[in-house]
């Protein structure tokens, strides 16, 4: 077990290193001169050369890489090409908004998805099962950006229940973007829970539990749900990455002041040093969540093979 955990952590660390390298190369692979990008359109040749020396861009690439890594370890992601402020400051101030949105989205997805899937499986082929199945079909096929826009039209413009943009109005601002972000994962979690519960229900130990006269709700909670949720946890973990990706679009639609919005804004203002930082933080979060899910999985399901 310890060996498995250590190896899994090592793999995550190596993956992170590969991503850091990719992000480092990002700026160097872009067409154009990085020093020029930092200096801006109107910079003089002297300005550009001064920046080149200042940012170590005149050094050979492996030295630059060394600088990049050692700075990153100290929490220095360089300076923004647009504001000349440290990239990490901007990211740090926006990270909580993104986490809040993603966690709320996950919360909604799990809170709706698991009961819906369970119910759908217990009442198999009933009206509600068909209804839920149809809704999951819609949820999976609905592009996040279109769902967001439609929700704004209906619930913010027509009904005026919720805010259409920003994050200043507390819950009124959070509901629409969180639901938009959650929809796809919610549908997937529902599907997965339904399939998994149906599988467990067909097991012999359920028949045994019924045969010995166990109450149905005890069977459901103690025997069915506990076993059925194991594969669901993997889906939940994988969906977190999807939520991070989806937050790029959702935040742009709802003008939510998080990392996703920062990423699109930085792409358009050609602020590639900020783009680097955001890509790093997003990927780092994704790796971290995957690691946690894998470890949790090993803990929950003792049947898992550690080698």
């Amino acid at each position: 077990m310890i060996k498995y955990i250590l190896r899994r952590i090592l793999v995550s660390f190596l993956t992170l290193l590969v991503i850091v390298t990719f992000v480092f190369l990002l700026l160097r692979l872009l067409p154009g001169d990085p020093a020029q990008l930092y200096a801006g359109q109107n910079a003089t040749t002297e300005d550009i050369e001064r920046l080149r020396v200042q940012l170590n861009l005149d050094k050979p690439i492996h030295i630059q890489y060394g600088f990049f890594i050692s700075k990153l370890v100290q929490g220095d992601m360089g300076i923004s090409m647009r504001t000349n402020e440290p990239v990490w400051h901007e990211i740090k101030s926006r990270l909580p908004a993104t986490i809040r949105l993603a966690v709320s989205g996950m919360f909604i997805a799990v809170l709706v998805g698991i009961p819906a899937g369970l119910f759908s499986a217990i009442k198999r082929y009933s009206f509600f099962d068909h209804l839920i199945s149809t809704l999951t079909l819609v949820g999976v096929a609905m592009p996040v950006y279109w769902l967001g826009l439609m929700l704004i039209i209906v619930f913010a413009v027509k009904l005026r229940w919720f805010a259409a943009a920003g994050s200043q109005e507390g819950l009124r601002s959070l509901v629409l973007p969180a639901f938009t972000l959650a929809a796809f994962s919610m549908a997937l979690i529902t599907r997965m829970t339904r399939a998994s519960v149906l599988e467990v229900l067909s097991q012999e130990y359920i028949t045994t539990a019924r045969a010995k006269g166990q109450k149905e709700h005890v069977i459901l909670y103690r025997h069915v749900l506990r076993n059925a949720l194991i594969p669901v946890i993997t889906v939940v973990g994988l969906q977190f990455g999807n939520l991070l990706g989806g937050s790029i679009l959702t935040e742009t639609i709802f003008a939510w002041p998080g990392l996703g919005q920062l990423l699109t804004q930085s792409l358009f203002s050609r602020d590639y040093s900020t783009v680097q930082g955001v890509v790093l933080v997003f990927s780092g979060l994704f790796i971290l969540v995957n690691l946690i899910v894998d470890l949790l999985y090993a803990y929950i399901d003792p049947r898992i093979q550690y080698d």
Binding site: T15, F22, V138, Y145, M150, A164, V279
Partner: protein
Amino acid sequence: MIELSNLPNKKTNESPFYLFWERFRKNTPATIGLILLVLLLAASLAAPLLTDMDPLKNNLIEALEKPSATHPLGTDYLGRDILSRILYGGRLTLTIGFLAVGLGLVIGVPLGAISGYYGGWADLLIQRIADILLSFPSFLLALTLVALMGVGERNLIISVGILAIPSFIRLVRGAVLTLRSQLYIDAARSIGAQDWRIIFKHILPNAMVPVIINASLNLGYAITTAAGLGFLGLGVQPPTPEWGTMLGESKTYIFSHPYMLTSPGVAIFIAIIGLNLVGDGLRDALDPRLKNLL
């Protein structure tokens, strides 16, 4: 002794394709999906027959008109007919999806085959490539790649196609690993068949079922992603009509002219739901055992 000709033989045509089609046809959701897709494809192919409007022609006098008899879906902020833009845009949206998944398939399948057939360091290397591609949130990867390569249809197809590669690698590798040890492969090798011949003639044709299913399921994802990039302004560039780009262009009019946003979204939605239904139907009809894998 039983006379073979006396056996009940209702259908003369029992080719594998016929059997597959029988199973697919009985699956109502899959049939609905297929109909939706055929309609969508036919409508975009027959665009010039269905509308005589030019999808690119500006007409500021008729700008921002609500749906009417002349413009069934209304006009956009430049007075362009939305229906014709949806129909012509479908060509591009669907083509991009097909080409992107095609690219993923053409690169992923051979890599997966090499990985599974040879094992060793090639396997290790290819699996790490797949791991790396999977260690980014996928939309973030597509976005970063497009930003890196610059906007444009070709780069859009490449970056969305790259996302599809790892799933093909994984799938084909798994299939090859099980097929590799089959007796008929040993037989082929014993008569001196070369590796490439064994892979392409004997192994890959037998691994095609999961590949086809994966391709159909990936198509929906590729279309959503490409349209999502278009929505952000990093996909197909205006004035060319593409569903995602159309949504992105209209989002400023969400408060005043919400109908502009409805039709491109409905079009994407129908395409994805059709593809998902057909993908699930293909899986169930071709190989029900894959239900938990794909």
